[in-house]
């Protein structure tokens, strides 16, 4: 059913159709609307049987999900940013125990400085947690990915994170075609746990494993991710056959056929990139984009196939590995093994708008061979220079962000 609906609401309503039995969450912007809507569903008994547990922290939220999942219930939670980091220890645990928990990450920057706006620093920081990571490009895809996420998680018995851009998607009202209950029931069978805490058949879950088997256990976890490289596109195909919509899968190519320059990116920024590409194609530039819908496991083989003919790759990232450069870039470079030169563009940190004009300029620079290997899109060089000069004058830690804001004229007072 087509509805003009907020992204968070579309996700919440879709999650409800997936019949989770335990939902637990701790509020953090921009995830809040999702769990607020779900708590209302549970309270109104629109979703039964389901327990909604209000917890005291994200660490507890993931822990509740772990307990619920191990006891055989379909478990769901959602978080963002500081919350995701606060759960980090339990995240690794959930995947190590092979529990098919599904979680929405409403992507947001990580402080300090505290910043509630969108980038991918949070989910990228957990890329080695053993969770499958899917990134939605639109609200339609965000909703559809959740149905697929439960399927993938439960088929493989491994947790799945659906990442959607905070505010840009979560708070955007647009038309979303929501599935109905019979459709979801047909696509997503009831959860059949592989191992369950049941007095009729006692098992010990979470035993201590020493050096004699730990490597093998981790290897098997890796194999599961490799299996996911087959399963994720298969589930997406089935979704397309069932509902006539493209969502999910490993990668999303856009005008890559003959493209000399290909931009690799994740999430909603793909929309802007596609617009810029359309403009440049009209002007005769051979440019395309490759969206990564699946980031963990990393679809190296599909990436190689898709960019084989390109002369250069630009990885546009909304996260950044301080001291190195792009987090996604490292995987892309490894996958290509020198076959195509790769440049990194860090963009949209902390909610900085990634505009069509900036992307266009960057692409023209790239096509002309003028792009640095590591570029920060729309970086205000003058601000940096002034702060660096200040730092050179006085060796002490100081209110960098406040200084920058004063230079920008955003704050008038002299703070530092």
């Amino acid at each position: 059913m087509l509805r003009q609906i907020e992204g968070s609401r579309a996700v919440a309503d879709t999650v409800a159709l997936c019949r989770p039995e335990v939902i637990c969450a701790y509020p953090i912007s921009p995830q809040t609307h999702i769990v607020e809507a779900l708590s209302a569903h549970v309270k109104e008994k629109a979703l039964t049987p389901c327990e909604f547990v209000n917890v005291e922290s994200e660490f507890a939220a993931m822990s509740v999900a772990i307990g619920a999942s191990a006891a055989g219930a379909r478990a769901y939670t959602a978080t963002a940013s500081q919350g995701l980091l606060y759960m980090a220890e339990a995240l690794f645990n959930a995947s190590g125990l092979g529990l098919p928990i599904v979680m929405t990450v409403a992507n947001r920057a990580i402080g300090a400085p505290i910043n509630i706006w969108n980038d991918h620093s949070d989910s990228m920081s957990q890329r080695d947690s053993g969770w499958i990571q899917l990134y939605a490009a639109t609200n339609q895809e965000a909703a559809d990915l959740h149905v697929q996420a439960f399927r993938i998680a439960e088929d493989l018995s491994t947790p799945v994170m659906v990442c959607m851009d905070g505010f840009v998607l979560t708070h955007a009202y647009e038309e979303v075609d929501l599935l109905d209950q019979p459709a979801v029931d047909g696509f997503l069978p009831p959860y059949e746990p592989r191992q369950i805490l049941d007095p009729a058949e006692p098992v010990s879950i979470g035993a201590m494993v020493g050096p004699e088997a730990f490597t093998e256990v981790r290897y098997l976890a890796h194999l599961k991710q490799i299996q996911a490289l087959e399963l994720i596109p298969a589930v997406a195909d089935e979704f397309r056959t069932s509902f006539g919509r493209d969502a999910g899968g490993l990668v999303r190519p856009y005008r890559t056929e003959d493209a000399e320059t290909i931009v690799v990116a994740l999430g909603s920024v793909l929309g802007t990139i596609q617009d810029a590409i359309d403009d440049l194609r009209a002007e005769g530039q051979r440019i395309g984009a490759l969206g990564l819908t699946t980031f963990r496991p990393f679809p190296a083989e599909r990436l190689r196939q898709q960019v084989r003919g390109a002369r250069r790759l630009i990885v546009l990232e909304k996260a950044f590995s301080v001291g190195v450069g792009g987090a996604v870039t490292a995987d892309v470079v490894t996958a290509l093994n020198g076959a195509v030169p790769v440049q990194t563009v860090v963009a949209g940190l902390g909610g900085r708008a990634v505009t069509r004009a900036s992307v266009r300029g960057m692409l023209l620079d790239a096509a002309a061979g003028r792009l640095d290997p590591l570029t920060f899109l729309d970086l205000d060089d003058s601000l940096i220079e002034r702060e660096l000069a200040r730092l050179a004058r006085r060796r002490r830690s100081g209110p960098t962000a406040e200084n920058l804001l004063r230079d920008l004229g955003v704050v008038a007072s002299r703070i530092g």
Partner: protein, 333 residues
């Protein structure tokens, strides 16, 4: 789950109860058909109070729940000595996730059981004092405040034993641990405000809070049984001496626990909905020295010369407990 033949049991002590008694009055551990929830053959140290306490507590919970118990365990000695993969000593469904989250994981298990309509299956969470009073306190308080249907058992050996006897929030003043060494002007752990988790639990006004020790094992069984009569959040705090960390003789575990009670240092009581309803009277009060002297972790209080001031401060703590809980008169105030 079928009960199994008893593997071993002690005779001739209060621990087992009198085998001549009527079946209904015998200790669960004396019963041929106890469940052996925590089986023999685990890797706890000789004389481990935690192993003893857990065995009694879980079998009592199993008896109360007609064999339908799921246990959740925090990281710590109990977890490590009972489940070195691929072995396990647990005969009941058991889950270990992390050090600081056993209360929340248990909440999740309870929520799942409720969603599935399995109200007959009961959930027990357990952790050491570190996992309970320190790192897990936030999850535990959340579980109390929501009144989740979980019995949480803290095995208090008064330090982080699993990582090599470091101080915890439950380590008593003057005790030596590997991070509160017996050196300096005030050797051992500093005197502080204390962190009394049973009282913190009571402040949440949950249905049932009790303390117990491995010196009174019938009382321990009774308290688990009573705790299981309630629905909602319940808390049982068990003093479990640790020969390794307390530097006490393995055969003194029960004796040390009894002296902790008889000196007044560890008050044994029961509380319902935030109010104390019963205290165990001290039968024969002993000076705190009797308790301290049995333990190497307090050796610096007696050698090279007795630190009478410090001992007097510890005695004052015991005296305050005696007054506060009416341990000599049996008053509950």
């Amino acid at each position: 789950m079928a009960s199994q033949e008893i593997k071993f049991y002690q005779v001739g002590s209060h621990a087992v109860g009198n085998r001549l008694l009527d079946m209904s009055r015998r200790s669960i551990q004396a019963d041929m058909h106890r469940t052996n929830s925590l089986n023999s053959g685990h890797r706890a140290c000789r004389g481990c109070g935690e192993a003893l306490g857990a065995r009694y507590a879980l079998d009592a919970a199993m008896r109360a729940a007609a064999g339908r118990v799921v246990a959740v365990n925090a990281t710590g000695c109990l977890e490590v000595f009972s489940t070195p993969y691929p072995e396990t000593s647990w005969q009941i469904p058991w889950l270990h996730s992390l050090f600081g989250n056993s209360a929340a994981v248990a909440t999740g298990v309870a929520a799942a059981l409720r969603a599935k309509g399995r109200e007959d299956v009961r959930v027990v969470a357990q952790g050491g004092d570190g996992g309970t009073v320190d790192i897990g306190l936030s999850c535990l308080s959340g579980m109390f405040e929501r009144n989740d249907d979980v019995l949480y058992i803290c095995y208090d050996n008064e330090a982080y034993m699993n990582t090599g006897v470091q101080r915890s929030g439950s380590t008593p003043p003057a005790a030596r641990t590997s991070t509160t060494p017996a050196v300096g002007d005030e050797p051992g752990n500093a005197f502080g405000q204390g962190k009394n988790l049973p009282m913190i639990a009571m402040a949440h006004e949950i249905p049932y809070v009790a303390t117990a020790t491995v010196a009174q094992l019938r009382d321990l069984e009774d308290k688990v049984r009573r705790a299981m009569e309630f629905r909602g959040a319940r808390y049982l705090h068990i003093l479990v001496p640790c020969p390794l960390g307390w530097v006490s003789a393995a055969e003194h575990t029960v004796r040390v626990a009894r002296l902790a009670v008889e000196s007044g240092l560890f008050p044994v009581f029961e509380a319902k909905h935030g109010e104390i309803t019963d205290v165990t009277r001290i039968r024969r009060q002993v000076p705190v020295e009797d308790y301290l002297k049995l333990q190497g972790r307090y050796a610096h209080l007696f050698k090279p010369q007795p630190r009478t001031n410090t001992i007097a401060r510890i005695q004052a703590i015991a005296d305050r407990n005696i007054r506060r809980f009416g341990l000599l008169t049996g008053d509950t105030r």
